[in-house]
């Protein structure tokens, strides 16, 4: 049995052979050993396997940290000791290297192409296939730029104190990227978009393969990029034309939530892989310990699907809340206590006035510069003819009203009983609505939302429709109001609401919105159907509530 020194010698011979630097005499020695010592054949193979695992064909990562200058001091000291005791290893003269690499240069690995393989295959009809496959399968050893950072928000990357700018290109290779915090959008050259949420560590393997070591990502993959593959430590997900979110946690568990389309999920050990097709609305968890695949609830709101750093908007698949916008939020943030907008001053107010007298219209359309998604507000009164309802001059043939209003346009969520206001609560089936945001429009008010501004804030998204549930309510059950929905001055919905009682219940609304629509206007006018003296509280308490008023969104990726 050879001692350690002899073992090192054997390993050195195998290393020399592996690196192509073995001399004839050394090859004869290696051959002699393998012929006469049968256990050395096993060792030879195990060393070759070790080289393979450490190479790009293997799956074992060596490095835990980047090389820094201090390593050289350590290594130099170590080498000084070792070199004194090293036996001479004869290295044959090699032809000079064509290119000199230094530690300060880029760490590109030059691929080695045999002329035979390249030239002969270029002559064949299958050459194109070869080149595609070649580029694909060796792209990990190249640093090929395959993706662009199109946007980032509060993003901090490891190894740099500054944000990477839009347009930064990302390349394949062994480099791992660490997004310490924030959001980043990578658009691959094949049009796939990957939204990363830090902290996340990932590696771009090829032009259509990414490995997520941990963190969250959301992928939207168009048809032309079908086959895009996502690897985690425990699973592989192959896109089949879909959108999905992947979370890999620090413990190694993987979570897949498929939002659209379908994927192929592969998990398990090398010798026992399981493959499943996972479709829309389905989510799976892959255990790091057992590789078992289990069902979990699909959470469409778990992942950041789009964001806009300029407007500070983050979208997780929710619809845009009109109540949130009226409350001065971005449409995705929650509404809290009662808050509103004066329809005459166009000013944002943080509390709703409890008024003792009626307030009158100023008979103009009032712009709202404070809120980017609201075009304007007004008090509708058609006594003098059609009224302006958008900043571009769209008009509405409004009926005659009293020209008075008692409350601001308001929004809230939760119980209204705890708040200082005369607005009655929304009660349906004996229960106050507290879990949904509510937009309150009391006669006579109107508000116009700027759909173009909304689209510009999230260009990745499309506005599809408005939906809400409307209910007129007051404790006296003596409502007399009309509700209108208009798009660019065109009436899309009108409803005469007189004396709503509990039997009629809430009214659902759904209005389609096309990409060319610019403005959405909501108006409540008093009915003026009864004489003043027949109503105990004329014009007051004509509240119309829109429960959970939303603009339905969808992403436009892949179009």
């Amino acid at each position: 049995m050879r001692n350690s020194h002899e073992q090192y010698d054997f390993t050195e011979l195998v290393l020399l052979a592996y690196l192509g630097e073995i001399m004839p005499a050394q090859m004869e020695e290696l051959d002699q050993i393998l012929r006469t010592e049968s256990e050395k054949v096993r060792t030879y193979l195990e060393l070759m396997e070790l080289f393979t695992e450490l190479s790009p064909y293997g799956s074992v990562d060596i490095s835990k940290s980047d090389i820094d200058s201090t390593i050289y001091d350590v290594l130099i000291k170590k080498l000084a000791v070792e070199e004194k005791t090293a036996q001479e290893v004869k290295i044959p003269q090699k032809e000079p290297q064509k290119e000199r690499k230094t530690f300060s240069e880029s760490r590109k690995v030059r691929p080695r192409i045999s002329k035979f393989s390249l030239y002969s295959l270029l002559l064949s009809s299958a050459a194109l296939i070869f080149l595609i496959v070649y580029a694909h399968f060796v792209s990990m050893r190249w640093e090929i730029e395959v993706a662009t950072l199109t946007d980032s928000m509060n993003a901090k990357w490891a190894d740099t104190n500054t944000s990477l700018s839009r347009g930064t290109r990302f390349a394949t290779g062994r480099n791992k990227f660490f997004l310490r915090e924030g959001l980043a959008d990578l658009r691959f050259d094949n049009e796939a978009v990957v939204t990363l949420e830090g902290p996340a560590e990932f590696q771009i393997i090829t032009e259509d393969q990414i490995k997520l070591y941990y963190g969250r990502l959301y992928a939207a993959v168009p048809q032309r990029a079908i086959g895009f593959t996502f690897n985690t430590p425990t699973a592989r997900i192959i896109d089949l034309g879909t959108e999905f979110g992947i979370k890999a946690d620090a413990g190694g568990d993987t979570y897949l939530h498929v939002i659209k389309g379908k994927t192929t999920l592969i998990a398990g050990t090398q010798s026992n892989k399981v493959s499943r097709e996972v479709g829309k609305g389905i989510a799976k968890k892959i255990s790091a310990v057992s590789s078992a695949i289990s069902d979990i609830p699909c959470n469409e709101k778990l992942f950041v699907r789009a964001f806009n750093a300029d407007h500070k908007i983050v979208w997780r698949g929710e619809n845009l809340s009109l109540a949130s916008i009226v409350a001065g939020r971005d449409g995705f943030q929650e509404v809290g206590s009662l808050i509103g907008l004066d329809p005459v001053k166009g000013e944002f107010v943080t509390s709703i006035s409890v008024v003792d007298e009626y307030r009158k219209s100023n008979k103009v359309y009032n712009l709202v510069p404070d809120l980017q998604f609201i075009d304007g507000v007004f008090v509708p009164d058609g006594e003098s003819g059609a009224i302006q309802i958008t900043s571009l001059g769209h008009t509405f043939d409004c009926p005659k009203t009293s020209g008075k209003y008692t409350h601001e346009i308001a929004a809230y969520k939760g119980s209204i009983e705890n708040q200082q206001t005369t607005i009655p609560p929304v009660i349906i089936n004996g229960q106050e609505i507290v879990n949904d945001p509510i937009l309150i429009l009391h006669s006579n008010v109107g508000i116009t939302f700027d759909l173009q501004a909304i689209r510009q804030s999230l260009p990745q998204l499309d506005l599809k429709s408005l939906k809400a549930t409307g209910v007129a309510m007051n404790e006296f059950k003596s409502q007399d109001l009309d509700f209108w929905i208009l798009v660019d001055g065109q009436i899309k919905y009108e409803r005469e609401i007189v004396t709503i009682n509990s039997d009629r219940g809430p009214i659902p609304f759904h209005v389609e919105i096309s990409p060319k629509d610019r403005f959405l206007t909501l108006i409540v006018t008093d009915g003026l159907r009864g004489k003043d003296d027949e109503r105990k509280y004329p014009y007051a308490f004509d509240f119309f509530y829109l429960i959970k008023p939303e603009l339905c969104l969808t992403d436009s990726l892949g179009k």
């Binding site: 393998l34 012929r35 070790l50 080498l79 070792e82 070199e83 290295i91 690995v109 393989s117 592989r236």
Partner: protein, 175 residues
């Protein structure tokens, strides 16, 4: 080729490429030549994928194709390369059948053994395998001799090899 076929090929190839590469490397022992032959083999496997029978052994099929590539390579390289004798290659082929099945366990053991390496040793491996520096370049960068680097690398690889063997023995004993 239909997209679903492409996905099937990618899936199988990703899973089995290591076995195919190990076979090639074991038979030609020189890394650069093994890389070339692997690329040729991959291209041919892709071209011939329609003939692959689903459910059969993809790695074995790939190795069969690789054997022909290796034969071509040897015919062309007989003057430029050094080879082991034929009976040694036959022993290598036989022994590979016993190496393949336990490959996963050795890979897992390797991970553990890497984590136990001294930082300086791991960084030596990183410089060569992950950053792509040759031994000569490492030697130049560290201002030392290439033979010294060979010595160090031989020691590190031997250490890893023995650590893997010990780890597997412990696992077998405790199983």
């Amino acid at each position: 080729m239909a997209i679903s076929k492409k996905i099937d090929f990618m899936e199988l190839y990703s899973k089995e490429q290591k076995k195919i590469y190990l076979f090639i490397l074991s038979m030609v022992h020189r890394q650069t030549d093994a890389d070339d032959i692997m690329q040729q083999t991959a291209a041919e496997m892709w071209r011939m994928f329609d003939r692959f029978e689903e459910g059969t052994n993809f790695a074995a099929w790939g190795i069969t194709i690789a054997k022909y590539r290796i034969m071509d390579y040897r015919k062309k390289q007989v003057k430029n390369r050094l080879f082991l004798s034929e009976d040694v290659y036959q022993k290598v082929v036989q022994e590979l059948q016993t190496v393949f099945p336990s490959s996963d366990k050795r890979k897992n053991a390797l991970r553990g053994c890497l984590s136990k390496l001294k930082e300086s040793d791991r960084k030596m491996l990183t410089m060569h395998y992950e950053s792509g520096f040759s031994y000569r370049q490492i030697a130049e960068g560290l201002r030392t001799s290439k033979s010294g680097i060979y010595k160090i690398m031989a020691r590190i690889h031997t250490h890893l090899h023995e650590c893997i063997k010990r780890t597997l023995l412990i696992w077998e004993t405790n199983a």
